[in-house]
């Protein structure tokens, strides 16, 4: 008897760790049953009008993040069964996550390179344009508001060829402004970013290889910045460094720059006019853009006196074939919301809605989404 109890005691305590782990198993098993139970309810509910039940994970561009968060909040208020997590992380992360199939959709400000298409596990990818907005050239120079900068000067600043704010080139574009002797701190993105892609595309198109080769870094979601620069993660990260650093300059989305109270430069556009970043300027740029069949387009360096030269487009990308029916329905409803009622939310958080023609095309494309 003695040995038996002893064995029991020993075995009991020895397997303490296993029991403990098993306990946690039980606990979580309980909690898993709750959502599971509610999702088994879902088919019953679908007999009623459409009760959407799904959790959509998403990541990607930080440029439209403020707008997406606003749209998600409004959409999920109306559809309480849907949870959407938009994580940001940069366009590059969004595209990679979609390729790996770990998100339901991704935000991106740039298109997928042909070479990368093969890596997309879920097959064909659809582009849904969502909003348009200016990329600002924001700076921190107390007392100097409304700075005017040409693409040439911007290119030289970001390539560290102009390193002082009172440089002759900047002074020449800002007559009557007293510029301080402050050193320039260039701030760019540390992550793979559509904002970087569009900003460098602006410089490539205006003063790049074919236009005097002043800008030599090319255009991509990451480029080879000089080593004596600073980088922040996401648009907010760049905005944070610009805001806290005297003499800093960086490229930031209009919404974060406005909310963060940053100073924004007026940029010389293709027509030779200096234009301050504004939603009207972005809309003007997008209106004339040539739209490809897959709804990709570029509003960068657009023609027209009123067009802001660094107006960036942005897309939500998703697989054409949605294998999970619940998620597919939720995604479709969300995209529909963004392309219709959600468009009116855009200007409340400093984004410009899509040109009407483009929104119509996007809605038509939404119908091609295959669910199940």
């Amino acid at each position: 008897m003695n040995t038996q109890t002893r064995r029991l005691v020993l075995a009991g305590i020895v397997s303490l760790s296993l029991v403990a782990v098993a306990c946690s198993d039980d606990k979580t098993a309980e909690t898993t049953t709750t959502p599971a139970a509610s999702s088994t309810d879902a088919p019953v509910v679908t007999e009623a009008p459409v009760k959407l039940e799904a959790t959509l994970d998403a990541s990607g561009a930080t440029f439209p993040k403020t707008y997406y968060e606003e749209a998600i909040a409004a959409f999920t208020e109306a559809n309480s069964g849907v949870t959407i997590n938009y994580a940001g992380g940069g366009s590059g992360k969004g595209r990679q996550d979609l390729a790996d199939g770990i998100v339901a959709f991704a935000g991106t400000d740039g298109t997928i390179k042909d070479a990368d298409l093969a890596g997309y596990k879920g097959g064909e990818v659809l582009y849904f344009p969502t909003v348009v907005a200016p990329i600002t050239v924001s700076y921190n120079l107390s007392g100097v508001d409304g700075l005017q900068l040409s693409p040439t000067t911007i290119a030289k600043i970001f390539q560290r060829q102009i390193t002082k704010w009172n440089d002759a080139a900047i002074a020449a574009e800002n007559t009557g402004v007293t510029l301080p002797d402050t050193a320039i701190t260039v701030v760019h993105r540390s992550d793979s970013s559509g904002t970087t892609g569009n900003f460098t595309k602006f410089l490539e198109k205006s003063v790049g290889k074919d236009k005097g080769a002043i800008w030599t870094l090319g255009t991509d979601s990451t480029v080879q910045w000089a080593a004596d620069t600073q980088a922040g993660e996401g648009n907010a990260g760049v905005a944070q460094i610009v805001k806290s650093t005297d003499g800093a300059i960086g490229y930031v989305d209009f919404s974060d720059a406005t909310d963060g109270g940053l100073q924004m430069a007026s940029i010389e556009n293709a027509a030779g006019k200096f234009v301050a970043p504004s939603l009207e300027g972005a809309s003007a740029a997008a209106a004339g853009a040539k739209i490809a069949d897959n709804l990709t387009y570029s509003a960068i360096w657009a023609d027209g006196d009123a067009a802001y030269p660094i107006a960036a487009q942005t897309w939500i990308i998703a697989y054409k074939v949605q294998t999970d029916a619940a998620k597919g329905e939720a995604l479709k409803a969300f995209l529909k919301f963004i392309l219709t009622d959600g468009q009116t939310l855009a200007s409340t958080v400093n984004y410009a809605p899509l040109p009407a023609e483009l929104a119509t095309k996007a809605l038509a494309q939404l119908d091609t989404l295959q669910i199940g």
Binding site: T3, R6, R7, L10, A11, V14, S59, G89, G90, G92, K93, R95, Q96, D97, A99, D116, G119, T163, A183, T185, S190, D191, S192, D220, S221, T222, V223, Q224, W225, A227, D228, T229, Q230, A231, G232, E233, Q240, I241, S244, T245, D246
Partner: protein, 337 residues
């Protein structure tokens, strides 16, 4: 946990009576007991777990990084060009940043730590010893991400004035002029170094304390009896005695500093390709790059980032192995085993 360690463990006694116990145990084992055997084998398995985990870490990580090695060859270490769109992955500048920030941290932390450890062990009265130990250990409890938050939102903003003053003071002075170089940034090697110094100080202090406390009391008393002042006693008896162990303690701090991720990622400035003496310039370190670029990495880039982690792993393990060996040896010597 270090505070408890110091209550003089006595391996001497255990080794003396160890034989007797072993004899007793052998007698008991003879009588069997399956539960007893089960317990024993569970304990052995748990012990083996350390080997298993370390082995698996080494194997899987090296395995996953082979793509990057074969793609880049030796350039992986010798090139400072990190250009993911072109699939060029050279990590030289990140190795530099990792080592440089860790060195800055040591330069700041070592004198402070040794001073504190000596004060606690040789000067402070008993009540103050305990208070000081608690206070220093508090530093170790603050999570690194909290240091990072403070570093990025407070320190890096307010310290720029000091950097500018240093930079202009040392302008034109040989060597120091390029170390405290021009165009200082709030987020820089130096800011990262400061944060790291604060983080490794409790580690170095607690180990140094242990090492210093192994100095035999009679040697210290002999020095004092010969008329040495307190400092002369420290220099003549304590320091020579614990030199080896102190080197080990400092190296453990170095290893910790090289591996620190989050705090550094937030304050180092994230500039690519930076190799230079200027401590006030922004740069980047290996763990910070892995953190920032992991999410967007495709297959080859993930492999390159893992290869970078392997490099970091090997560097920190080497430092740690040397440090542990040095500490063990000096402890053994001083305990007279």
């Amino acid at each position: 946990m270090t505070a408890i360690n110091t209550s003089s463990p006595s391996p001497d006694t255990s080794s003396v009576t160890g034989n007797d116990i072993a004899t007793l145990e052998r007698g008991l084992h003879a009588s069997g007991g399956s539960a007893d055997r089960a317990f024993k084998s569970t304990a052995y398995l748990a012990g083996g777990l350390v080997l298993l985990v370390l082995g698996l870490v080494t194997y899987t990580m090296v395995n996953r990084s082979t793509d990057a090695w074969s793609h880049m060859g030796l350039d992986f270490f010798t090139s400072r060009t990190w250009n993911p769109p072109e699939q060029v992955y050279g990590i030289l500048s990140y190795i530099f940043g990792t080592v440089y920030t860790a060195c800055i941290a040591l330069v700041i932390s070592v004198p402070l730590s040794l001073g504190i450890a000596l004060f606690i062990t040789q000067v402070a009265p008993r009540w103050l010893q305990r208070t000081m130990t608690y206070v220093i250990d508090l530093l170790a409890v603050v999570p690194s991400v909290v240091f990072g938050l403070w570093g990025v939102l407070v320190l890096s903003v307010h310290i720029k004035g000091f950097y500018t003053w240093m930079s202009s003071t040392f302008d034109g002075v040989p060597v120091l002029g390029s170390v405290f170089g021009p165009n200082p940034q709030g987020r820089s090697f130096f800011t990262a170094g400061i944060i790291l110094a604060v983080m490794i100080t409790p580690i170095i202090v607690s180990l140094s304390r242990e090492v210093i406390q192994t100095t035999p009391q009679n040697e210290k008393e002999a020095a004092l009896a010969l008329g040495a002042t307190r400092w002369e006693m420290i220099r003549g008896a304590v320091l020579p005695h614990s030199k080896g162990g102190l080197v080990g303690a400092v190296m453990l701090g170095l290893g910790r500093a090289m591996g620190e991720t989050i705090a550094v990622a937030l304050v180092i400035g994230s500039a690519t390709g930076r190799i230079g003496l200027n401590v006030f310039a922004g740069g980047n370190s290996m763990p910070a790059v892995i953190t920032a670029e992991w999410g967007e990495a495709d297959v080859l880039k993930k492999s390159a980032l893992i290869a970078m982690a392997v490099t970091l792993f090997v560097m920190t393990i080497l430092v740690n192995v040397i440090a542990t060996t040095v500490v063990n040896r000096s402890m053994k010597k001083t305990r007279g085993i």
